[in-house]
């Protein structure tokens, strides 16, 4: 049984990783056409990626949008969870349920709705529109993750702080915030990573003006291929995996997504 299990694990791992091994190979190959294994090695595509202003601009835009969207998402998620935890009111529950919505709908619906909405508002084609829509649509993940943090926060811990003289604001600052900080950080990181990678919504809201990295890669693949795309993809892979590795140092990802430590 164990060997069968391990064989399945290895097979799936290989299938999941294989595409990126090829992309890595293409990105460090000297040939202008796609070929694997590479005949000669070269870093010219990476040099082009990191020196051509077009690519740098796209990278910069994507990172900026991700940062802002992450802040909007986590602030929203924190606010909704805080009120729900503090009052438990029906209105807070409704707001929480509303926050689960975007995750349940196919992105094309969100993208088209947002695109029509921003056109009507007059922000169609502006980066701010992409930022706000990313921030609102990706709220679900931090919402659910921060909720786990609040669930671990017992009433008695808060009451203890109160009996020692803490006002509601001080309770929030000295007890609530430090205890849920790892969850907030996890939520922020995931939103930022997802935003950096998102294509459809960004494209429909402002794709023709604000060309983010995924949009640029997509256009490049469809309308005239260059191996810089492979280098850009690898940059994404490295950014994403590095972000998650840092996160795994700060919070216990296994406990967050699965089993508790002392089981």
């Amino acid at each position: 049984m164990t060997s069968l299990r391990n064989a399945y694990l290895w097979l799936i791992a290989a299938m999941l990783i294989a595409p990126f091994v090829i992309v890595l190979g293409v990105s460090i190959g000297a040939s202008k056409n796609i070929s694997f294994p590479p005949e000669a090695l070269s870093l010219e595509w990476y040099t082009e990626l990191l020196t051509e202003s077009e690519w740098l601009l796209a990278i910069g835009r994507s990172l900026f949008i991700a940062l802002c969207a992450g802040i909007i998402s986590t602030t929203l998620a924190l606010a909704i969870n805080y009120v729900l935890w503090r009052t438990g009111s029906g209105f807070a529950k409704l707001t929480f349920a509303l926050g689960l919505g975007p995750f349940l709908l196919p992105p094309i619906i969100l993208a088209l709705g947002a695109s029509l909405f921003w056109a009507e508002v007059g922000w169609y084609g502006r980066m701010e529109a992409t930022i706000v829509s990313h921030g609102v649509f990706f709220v679900t993940l931090p919402l659910v993750i921060i909720a786990r943090g609040f669930a671990a926060l017992t009433d008695e811990v808060v009451e203890a702080a109160q009996t020692m003289g803490a006002t509601p604001m001080q309770v929030f600052r000295t007890v609530v915030l430090p205890l849920i900080a790892p969850y907030v950080l996890t939520g922020f990181t995931l939103v930022a990573i997802i935003s950096v990678n998102e294509y459809l919504i960004a494209n429909m809201i402002s794709g023709f003006v604000v060309e983010t990295l995924p949009i640029k890669i997509f256009n490049n693949v469809r309308y005239g291929y260059s191996p810089v795309v492979a280098a850009a993809s690898m940059l994404f892979v490295v950014l994403t995996v590095t972000g998650l590795l840092i996160l795994s140092r700060v919070t216990d990802l296994v406990a967050l997504f699965g089993t508790e430590k002392d089981e």
Binding site: T154, E156, V157, E159, A160, A161, Q162, T163, M164, G165, A166, T167, Q170, T174, V175, P178, L179
Partner: protein, 321 residues
């Protein structure tokens, strides 16, 4: 130093009446235990004193001042919670210093006071330890030191030792008693364990269904419970209802057994030896009578033996109907 005056206090949660017209006065420096089963209102009363709930009616005075308009964080109280509620993100020293730091005391100034408090509870030198790395007893001590850090007017404890094993519980009870005497702080302690109440309290307040059944010194309560509920709660008591006569209560150790002579006739249905004590259950008519005596002083009796049950009148008392 402050005395606590509770007058006609009532509290309901929806349709459930948690406290009904409670009046009690706690003298400055007195140690009282609120004793009762779950749902009797003892924890609600404690939380009203702490300001964690607001009462519906009545007055709550501390040192003559009305507590009603004062929110929890402005009442000078120290509280130890059932779950202890230590802050997991702070170390031992920072947990104890929490209240002082909120009051604006600098870290350096708070240091000596923290050291003094940890010395008092027997945790010298553990300032930097993470609370997750502490044993059960050590966590109790941190919670006590933290609650006393601001020299509270009233010290409140909500069943803090219920999760400890028997040996450790006895030890913690002694320590709490010693610390309370040294500081002579007015203390209200909630428990469902009558042994714990007996060991700690200057005065025990027995509660049931949101009212006070009886309040008095432990000896007084044990010797003269004024209601059937208190009698049964304080220890296993034998209560005899004879029609036309007042209800009589007799403690197990006041019952004597004989193989012949005067008394009520019964049969031993169960007996067990607990160290020095022998405990028996005797079926008299349809009533189980509990009897206990020192095992080496009583007579040897077999299971199922027919016996005569009696007691001397000065060891029995009448309960009000």
């Amino acid at each position: 130093m402050s005395n606590l005056q509770i007058t006609n206090l009532s509290k309901s949660f929806g349709n459930h009446v948690a406290l009904r017209d409670i009046s009690i006065e706690v003298a400055s420096g007195e140690f009282i235990c609120l004793l009762g089963g779950s749902g009797c209102g003892k924890t609600t009363l404690l939380r009203l004193i702490a300001g964690l709930e607001t009462h519906d009616q009545g007055t709550l005075l501390l040192g003559g001042n009305d507590l009603t308009p004062i929110p929890s964080h402005k009442r000078n109280i120290g509280m130890v919670f059932q779950s202890l509620a230590l802050f997991p993100h702070l170390n031992v020293g920072d947990n104890v210093a929490y209240g002082m730091r909120l009051a604006g005391v600098s870290k350096d100034k708070a240091g000596p006071r923290v050291t003094q408090l940890l010395d008092m509870v027997g945790l010298s030198g553990l300032e930097k330890r993470s609370v997750a790395a502490l044993s059960g007893g050590q966590r109790q001590r941190v919670a006590i030191a933290r609650a006393l850090a601001l020299k509270p007017d009233v010290f409140l404890m909500d069943e803090p030792f219920s999760a400890l094993d028997a040996g450790l519980r006895d030890q913690m009870q002694e320590e709490v008693k010693r610390i309370q005497r040294d500081l002579s702080v007015t203390t209200v302690f909630v428990t469902h364990d009558q042994r714990e109440a007996m060991a700690l309290a200057d005065r025990i307040v027995v509660m049931n269904g949101g009212i006070i059944e009886q309040a008095g010194a432990p000896d007084e309560l044990y010797a003269r419970p004024t209601s059937r509920f208190v009698a049964e709660f304080i220890g296993i008591n034998n209560i005899f209802e004879v029609s036309g006569n007042p209800t009589i209560a007799v403690r197990p150790e006041a019952i004597s057994l004989a193989t012949s002579g005067q008394g009520l006739s019964g049969r031993i249905t169960r007996q067990r030896r607990l160290g020095a004590l022998m405990e028996r259950e005797i079926l008299v008519g349809t009533q189980i009578v509990h009897q206990s005596e020192f095992a080496d002083q009583g007579t040897h009796l077999e299971d199922g033996a027919e016996v005569m049950v009696s007691w001397s009148d000065d060891k029995a008392w009448a309960l009000p109907q």
